[in-house]
Each structure stands twice: as structure tokens, then as C-alpha cells.
Amino acid sequence: MNRIKEVMVVDDDPTLLFLTQKFIEITGMVQTVLTITDGKLAFENILARHSTNNTLPEIIFLDINMQDWDGWRTLEELKLAGLLNQLCIYIFTSSANRADKETAKRFLPEENYIEKPISLEVLRAIFESYHNA
């Protein structure tokens, strides 16, 4: 089975970043995990790589509630930059707000909305479906 080359995790909570990175590594289905602590930094990273024709992360886990740019802002900017359709992004949130789930639909398929805590089963399913797609 081909391993996924790169997964980007965007969250301002270091514990969660650590945990997510660990769980992804445990699956053994991903080569590199890039952790970024803010939406803006994530956007700049992606934009820079895109403009230099470098490879983009294959899967991105994006938190909603962040200090500077939140998940929505990040998605909005990516959409404006015309990058949203080239990326596989999962909203990864601790919010159980129905309103947030509805907002997410404006950017992503409904199944790309994942509630924390993360589990190995969910991660594996995601990676498998990525390969099958």
C-alpha cells in the first residue's frame, strides 16, 4: 500500500497537535506530518508552495477555533486564492455546534467534518478513502 506523503495538521492546541501527530504515525499510513499552529501560517505555507510549484500536503486537518485566523477564515482565503479545490481538507473540531456543521458545508463535503477526540479508526478510514479516491 502506498503511503501518503504528507499530512498537514493545523491547530493552536500543542497537546492536540502532538496527539494527532502521534496517532497519524501509529497508523503507519503517512510519511510526513507537518504541524502548524495557526490558520494564517498554514495558508502562507500552502500559497508559497503552490506558487513555487512545489508539492502540496495531500490531507489537511484544520481546526475551527483558533486565535488569529480561525478555520473559516483560512478556508475563505484558500477559496479566494483558488486553492480550495486542489486540497483535501478535513475540519477537525471540538465544537458540536450544529451551526458550525452547517457552515462547513459551504466549503467541504459533509463527511469531511470530524469531531474530536480523534480515534485511530477514523484516521485509518480517512487515509484508506484517500487512496481509494
Binding site: 492546541d13 492536540l16 496527539l19 502521534k22 458540536a96 474530536k116 477526540p117 480515534s119
Partner: protein
């Protein structure tokens, strides 16, 4: 008479003796006019003694002559060979002037010429002459004025004689027209000729005077109406010899008569139309009085006919109410004395109608005999008086009500002038009712400038639309306090539908407005607090969830990396607690969601389809539990609801029924929909294990209340269902009996269309 033998004096003396005894007044004068002799008769006639007469000259006696020369000149012209007669006017001693006829003769005495006058008093004859002349003149004048002429027809000689006036009436020339019976007939209007001829002939036959009215057709084409009266005279043998008659031009009088009669008729009709009586009342100086003329309305007023009062008005006074009799008499005399307009209101007592009120107005006119004649009108004002009484009474009642009302009542007349302001305005404005009435601007003045537009618009609106909305504005009262006024007004109409101005009320709503403002402020504060609370809840739930998720993740990671550690029961418990915490937080978020429904989430949905899709989703579970689910919902029922809630509610009902099946019997769940006015009843009836409602009614819908402990029961289902139903404006009823079954009735607002 020329006797040379006589001495002049002797001759005069002889003459004196001759004339002295003559009954005719005689005097003798010389050619100078000096009177030398006068007899007794002359003395008697003129009133002077003989001696006095001898002192006089003829010129002194006769006033016909201007002076002595005139007299001498006349005498010198006389031919004394013939008898001379002159008329003179002699002045008597008592200044009476006598018309005299004087026969003068010449007397020669001793060669001297004397003149002797025989004087006759002709005053009486002159008077008659004057009278005759005058009456002739008057007769002519009378004929002319009366346009009456007379004619004399000699039937023997067939000679017709006309007076001047007949010529005038017939417009014939006296010189050229010779009247005759036949010629006269040609002047008669052709149609009337036979009538006139037969009247004349009948009169001869019947020997009776006749009277006939006929027309004349005159040469200029005009037609005249004439009245002819005539009488025939007969001789001893009964032969008609003479006819005497008069002709009178009555054209004008007929026209006037016609006019008069039509005027009189019109006047009578008019008088009959006037309500009450139109009359003429005469008060004689001796106190008698009468109604010479009165319209038929007299009966309505006094129940006496006008003809009964033509000579005596006293019956009318007997009709006057005893209280008013003296006063009315006094007023009549006062009007007569001062010749001022008579105006009086009095009561009468009538045999049929009873007590009535009358009003009388009349204008007096003083007559030459000292009588006063009034022209006037009397009307029955009983109804007006009654109405006035009633009005006064109702006004009084209204006033009592209005004066004691708490509100500020007002009434404006048609021109916007305030007629009434209730005294209570002072408690609200500090200004008295009188101040408002005296100053029409006051109302506008006390209204706050910002609100003056509201009031002005409203005033304009009321005039155009009878039913206007009430308005609210603020005033500043006398002591400077701000007051909120609710102003209500509408046009007022009297019982006859006539516009009588505007009636209105000003209510003090200051307290109500201030209370409302306080409530609004409280609501704003509460809303803000709620918002903060919601934000807080979100943050808490989010952060709690993050941390609990992290904790759970860390424990799971630990379990993966060092599974041996989990042999320790504490760690197992810690992992379980962490999982529970996570789940609790998830539920908390769901509950929180219910209170944050947006309007946009409401949608119309077909109830049957909504229920069926949920039933299908649990069909496997139902089969496992051997539960038979039936759905009896009309496909035409659509409800306006939040689809996610309906799904959730139905799912919860279904899972409950599945969970709480009584396994010892064939389980069922019947789902029905019933429509009641305003409501849709969604009924879930099962034959499951049931609930002891006596025990659990209070907590059945509570959060985390688990009535039947089972592994998959979290105590959240019914709590969520109740919240969702209530969020859509509905209610839930539950009927249950242990071991028999449970029925949930979910009532949702429903509008049938």
C-alpha cells in the same frame, strides 16, 4: 229832472225827502265823488250812519277802483242818456265786502250835475254763481277722475248726448263725432254688442234700471272694460221717452282687482303655510282689542277660529296660562306705549292640546284714533322647549359625568372653538379648563416641539377621516413635567346627523409609557445577559471538550504505546471517565443547540414522508425487537416545522418503543396523526412495559432521568424531545400504565389551508 226853478240846496233837500223812504239804498254824489246824500236803506246796508256817509267819497266806499282818477275816468265815459249799470264791491263799516249792482243816473240840480246811485246787494247771488261754477267744475273733475261719463238719450227725438268724459272714454273727438245709439254700438267689442243691445231693450220692456259690464274696441285697437248703468224714463202713457246712463272705465280697476285677488289668494296660501298664526291685532284706546285679520293657524295656536276673534280678542286671553296672563298684557301695553317690537314667550292651556309653549313677535303701528295695530306671528315652540329641556337635562347629565371623569375630556365646535373642557385637565396639565377655553393656542403651545407634527397631522386627518387612529404625544405641563398623552377624538354629530364639532379625550399614559420603557430596558439587559451567557456556554463547552478530548486521546495513546500500564484498574477507570466526560459534553452541546434555532431552519414538510423515512431507518432494529410499527398519516398533511427536530422527535419515540418492548407479547407501535383546530396531534401508541406516571410524571422529561435503567439509556431522549417540541411551539402529553403500554401525544401548531 232839469228844474231851473229850484235852488240847488232846495232841490237836494227835495230829493232827500223823495229817496229817504225808498227801500232801495240810494246815494247822491257830485262828479268829484263826494257823497251829498244817502238814504236810510244805504245806511243800513253799509253799516255807516247817514252823517258818516256824507263824509265819504265814492272811492272810499267801493274797492273796485284803484284811485280817484280811475273812478272819474269811468264816469266821464258814461253816456248818462241811457241807464248805466255797474258792478261794484262796497266795503261796509264792519269790513264785510258786499257785491253790489249800481244803477247810476245823472241829476241836474240848479245847473250842476250830480250822480245818483241805486245800490243793490248781490252778494248772495254772486255766491251762488260761484258755487255753481265750482260744482260744475267738480262734476267734470269727478267724471274725469272716476273715468265716468254720462249720457242722455232722448228716445222721442232719437237724440243722444254725451258728456265730455264719454268722448274721452270712447276716444272720440267731440267736434267731429256725433253720437247716436248705432254709432255707439260700433264702438262696442263685437262679441258684446248683442248683450248690450238686449240689456237696453230689456230695460225698456221691464222698466227696470240695468247694469252691464262690457268691452269697447277702440279705434287704436285697445280694449277697454266699461261699466254701464242706465235708467229709462216713461211718460204717463208708459212710453219710453228718455234714457239716462253712466259709462265708467273700469279697465284699470279690473286689472287691479285681479291682481289684488291673486295677491290676496297668494297671501292667504302663504299665511296658511307659515307655522303658527300670522295676524293683525288691534288694541283700542279704551282697552278693547281684536284680531281683524288672522290666518287659519289661529286655531292651532289658540283653538279659536279667526272669525271668532275679528271683533273681540278676549277669548284668546282666557287661553293664556295664569302664570303668564298679566305679564303678556303688560308687555302688550308696553309695546303700544313705546311703539317697540313685541316679543314674548308664554304658555297657553288649550282644551284639546293642553299645555303648549308659544312665541310671539309683532311690529306695532300707531293709528290716528290712538289704537295700536300689530302685525305679527305666533308659533308653537313646545317641541323646541321640550327638546331644550331634554337637551339641558342630558347636557347636565353629561356635564356631571364629564366633570367627574378622570380623563381630560373636550368638545370643540364646528369652527374649532372649545365648548367644553373637563376640569380634570388641571391635574394633567396644571392649566384650568377656563385657561384652555380662553386661549385656543394653549393646547398646541404645551405640546413638545418634536411632537407638534404628530398633533397637527392628526388634526388634519380627523377632519377628512371620521374614524382616526388615536395618537400619542408629549406635553410639558405648567410645572415643567413631561407627560405622555394618548389623544382620541372623532367628529361629533347630533341626533339629526349635523356636524357638531369634535369630541375627544386626552388620557394620561405617562405611567404606562414609563413602565413600558422600564420593561424594554429590562428586556435589553436580559437579552444582553443571555447573549453573554450563550457565548460563555459555548466557550466553556468548546474548551471543556478540547481538554477532555485531549485527555481521552492521551490515554488512548498511552494504551497503544504501553498497553501494560492499563492492567492497573485506576487507569481503566480514568479512560472510562474520560469517555463519559466527552459524551456528556457532546450532549450538552446538543441541548444548547435547541435554543439556538434560526427561522431559516423552518420548512414545510410532508409528515407521512418524514415519519416513514425514520421508520425505515430503524426497521432492522424493530425487526430484531419483534416490534410491529404501523403508520396512519394522511399524505395530504404538511406541517411547517424544523425538519431536523421532527426527525429527532420521531426517532426518539421509535427507539424508546423499541427499547421498552414487552417481550412476552406481540409488540406494536401505532403512529397516527389527528387534526384539531389549530393543532396537529402526532400520536405514538405502544403496548410496551409502560411507565408508572404517578411515580415518575415529574421526572419523565427531565435531563438525565433514567426511569428504566438499561445499558443504552442516557436519560436525554425525552428531555431533548420536549425541548424540540417546545421550540416549535408545541406540547407533549403522555398516558401510560405499567405493563400495558404508553401513548405519547405530540401537539404541534398547525394551520390548515
Amino acid at each position: 229832472m232839469n228844474d231851473p226853478l229850484l235852488h240847488p240846496l232846495e232841490g237836494i233837500e227835495t230829493l232827500r225827502v223823495l229817496i229817504d223812504n225808498s227801500p232801495i239804498a240810494v246815494y247822491l254824489a257830485n262828479m268829484e265823488g263826494h257823497i251829498l246824500l244817502a238814504n236810510q236803506a244805504a245806511s243800513q246796508m253799509l253799516g255807516f250812519s247817514k252823517e258818516e256817509l256824507l263824509q265819504k267819497n265814492v272811492i272810499d266806499l267801493d274797492i273796485t277802483y284803484q284811485n280817484h282818477q280811475e273812478l272819474i275816468a269811468i264816469w266821464n265815459q258814461m253816456d248818462f242818456d241811457k241807464p248805466n249799470m255797474v258792478y261794484g264791491r262796497h266795503l261796509c263799516k264792519n269790513k264785510v265786502i258786499l257785491d253790489v249792482e249800481i244803477h247810476i243816473s245823472k241829476v241836474h240840480i240848479s245847473g250842476t250835475i250830480y250822480l245818483m246811485g241805486n245800490v243793490r246787494d248781490i252778494s248772495e247771488r254772486r255766491e251762488w254763481e260761484r258755487r255753481i261754477t265750482r260744482s260744475e267744475y267738480l262734476l267734470n273733475e269727478a267724471q274725469r277722475l272716476a273715468k265716468i261719463g254720462y249720457w242722455d238719450f232722448d228716445l222721442v227725438s232719437n237724440q243722444l248726448t254725451w258728456s265730455d268724459e264719454v268722448y274721452k272714454i270712447t276716444q272720440q273727438n267731440k267736434g267731429s263725432f256725433e253720437p247716436s245709439y248705432e254709432r255707439f254700438l260700433t264702438l262696442v267689442y263685437p262679441e258684446d254688442r248683442a248683450k248690450l243691445d238686449s240689456a237696453f231693450k230689456n230695460a225698456i220692456e221691464s222698466k227696470l234700471p240695468y247694469f252691464i259690464l262690457h268691452r269697447l274696441l277702440l279705434p287704436d285697437g285697445n280694449i277697454k272694460q266699461v261699466e254701464e248703468r242706465a235708467e229709462i224714463y216713461f211718460d204717463e202713457n208708459g212710453n219710453a221717452i228718455r234714457a239716462l246712463g253712466t259709462v265708467q272705465d273700469v279697465t284699470e280697476s279690473i286689472v287691479i282687482k285681479e291682481k289684488l285677488s291673486s295677491t290676496y289668494e297668494m297671501l292667504s296660501k302663504l299665511m296658511a303655510q307659515v307655522p303658527g298664526v300670522v295676524y293683525q291685532y288691534r288694541l283700542y284706546p279704551d282697552g278693547r282689542s281684536c284680531f281683524p285679520i288672522a290666518s287659519e293657524g289661529m286655531y292651532d295656536i289658540y283653538e279659536h277660529h279667526p272669525h271668532e276673534l275679528v271683533e273681540d280678542a278676549s277669548m284668546v286671553f282666557n287661553r293664556l296660562h295664569p302664570d303668564d296672563k298679566d305679564r303678556v298684557s303688560k308687555e302688550i301695553y308696553e309695546s303700544a306705549e313705546k311703539q317697540t317690537l313685541f316679543h314674548s314667550v308664554f304658555k297657553v292651556i288649550l282644551p284639546t292640546k293642553g299645555l303648549r309653549w308659544c312665541k310671539c313677535d309683532a311690529r306695532p303701528e300707531l293709528l290716528s284714533d290712538g289704537s295700536t295695530l300689530w302685525y305679527g306671528i305666533i308659533t308653537d315652540i313646545t317641541e323646541r322647549v321640550d327638546e331644550h329641556d331634554r337637551l339641558f337635562l342630558s347636557e347636565e347629565r353629561y356635564r356631571i359625568v364629564a366633570n367627574n371623569t378622570y380623563n381630560w375630556e373636550f368638545w370643540e365646535d364646528e369652527e374649532g372653538k372649545l365648548l367644553y373642557v373637563s376640569p380634570s385637565c388641571v391635574t394633567l396639565t396644571g392649566f384650568t379648563a377656563e385657561e384652555f377655553i380662553q386661549n385656543p393656542q394653549l393646547m398646541s403651545d404645551i405640546i413638545l416641539t418634536e411632537d407638534s407634527g404628530i398633533y397637527a397631522n392628526h388634526r388634519h386627518h380627523v377632519k377628512v377621516h371620521p374614524h382616526s387612529e388615536k395618537v400619542e404625544f408629549r406635553i410639558r405641563n405648567k410645572s415643567g413635567q413631561l407627560k405622555y398623552i394618548k389623544h382620541l377624538c372623532q367628529p361629533a354629530y347630533d341626533s339629526k346627523g349635523a356636524f357638531r364639532g369634535i369630541r375627544g379625550t386626552n388620557l394620561d399614559v405617562t405611567e404606562a409609557v414609563e413602565n413600558l420603557q422600564r420593561i424594554e430596558n429590562l428586556l435589553k439587559v436580559e437579552e444582553a445577559q443571555n447573549q453573554r451567557l450563550r457565548n460563555f456556554t459555548h466557550i466553556v463547552s468548546h474548551n471543556l471538550r478540547s481538554h477532555s478530548a485531549n485527555m481521552e486521546g492521551l490515554l488512548k495513546l498511552l494504551k497503544i504505546e504501553s498497553p501494560d500500564v492499563f492492567d492497573h484498574p485506576y487507569l481503566k477507570m480514568m479512560l472510562k471517565s474520560s469517555e463519559n466526560l466527552n459524551e456528556t459534553i457532546t450532549h450538552l452541546n446538543q441541548v444548547l443547540d435547541i435554543s439556538l434555532v434560526n427561522k431559516e431552519e423552518w420548512a414545510p414538510l410532508q409528515l407521512l414522508a418524514a415519519v416513514k423515512s425514520v421508520v425505515d431507518s430503524v426497521s432492522t432494529l424493530a425487526k430484531e425487537a419483534t416490534l410491529t410499527i404501523t403508520v396512519a398519516i394522511d399524505a395530504t398533511i404538511y406541517i411547517h416545522a424544523i425538519p431536523a427536530y421532527i426527525d429527532s422527535i420521531v426517532l426518539n419515540m421509535l427507539t424508546n418503543a423499541i427499547k421498552f418492548c414487552e417481550n412476552s407479547r406481540d409488540s406494536y407501535l401505532h403512529i397516527k396523526a389527528v387534526i384539531e383546530p389549530g393543532w396537529l396531534l402526532l400520536i405514538f401508541e405502544d403496548n410496551g412495559i409502560g411507565i408508572d406516571l404517578q411515580k415518575h410524571k415529574e421526572k419523565i422529561f427531565g435531563m438525565y432521568k433514567i426511569i428504566h435503567p438499561r445499558a443504552d439509556s442516557k436519560g436525554l431522549g425525552l428531555f431533548m424531545t420536549l425541548n424540540q417540541v417546545e421550540a416549535m411551539g408545541g406540547k407533549i402529553d403522555v398516558f401510560s400504565e405499567e405493563n400495558i403500554g404508553t401513548t405519547f401525544i405530540i401537539k404541534l401548531p398547525y394551520e390548515q389551508n
